[in-house]
Amino acid sequence: MRVVVQAAPFDYGAECADFARDRTDMGAVVTFAGIVRGDGGLASMDIEHYPGMTEKALTAIAEEAAQRWSLGDVLVIHRHGPLRPGERIMMVATAAPHRRDAFEAADFLMDYLKSRAPFWKKERGTEGENWVAAKVADEDALTRW
């Protein structure tokens, strides 16, 4: 299991290629990347986080996923700082013997990252700047698990 919080970009292709590459018992790998959308004249998105708690929260979420599903490995990378449209904000990867576990665990990780990891997004664009509000749907999504 690996959890990374960093300002710098990450190499998505290399991360995907390296993930669980030496495992012969993992028949399924699911990878997901979150990307900054350029909707509504967005110029940049600043991601603030809570150093220390962020790493703990992400690790706890990844450990929870590893307990609930049969996983061989989990990777979470999440960036902070200023990002432009098209940049990758974060990624998760899950490896499991069979695909259902890998898909469900990745979905679970994303739902929990949305509302239980201490990140806040501020959008800057043609209409000024504003903090992205949490969506009720994102909170409701947690009840699925």
Binding site: G34, E48, Y50, G52, M53, K56, A57, H78, I89, M90, M110, L113, K114, S115, R116, A117, P118, F119, W120, K121, K122, W131, V132, A133, A134, E139
Partner: protein, 81 residues
């Protein structure tokens, strides 16, 4: 104890963290103490339904006890991913 503020809570209060000497027993007690200090705190804590809390880097709530707490953080609902 160290009190930390993030996102618009930080902007309204005007600083990211501060050290506070307090005997507040719970997070609610601490909020009441802060509200009484200055208008900017009262503005930041006007609507508690919009604020989340962490005590020593674990999510808590306004009833969480502060005995032995080293660090309390206030922030809006999180928007990761």
């Amino acid at each position: 104890m160290d009190v930390l503020y993030f996102a618009w809570v930080r902007e309204r209060i005007g600083l990211p963290r501060e050290r506070i000497e307090t005997s507040a027993a719970t997070v609610s007690d601490l909020v009441e103490e802060l509200r009484g200090r200055e208008d900017r705190y009262a503005a930041a804590f006007a609507d508690l339904s919009a604020i989340r809390v962490a005590v020593d880097q674990e999510l808590g709530d306004f009833d969480s006890p502060l005995a032995n707490a080293r660090e309390v953080a206030f922030f809006p609902p999180m928007t990761g991913g």
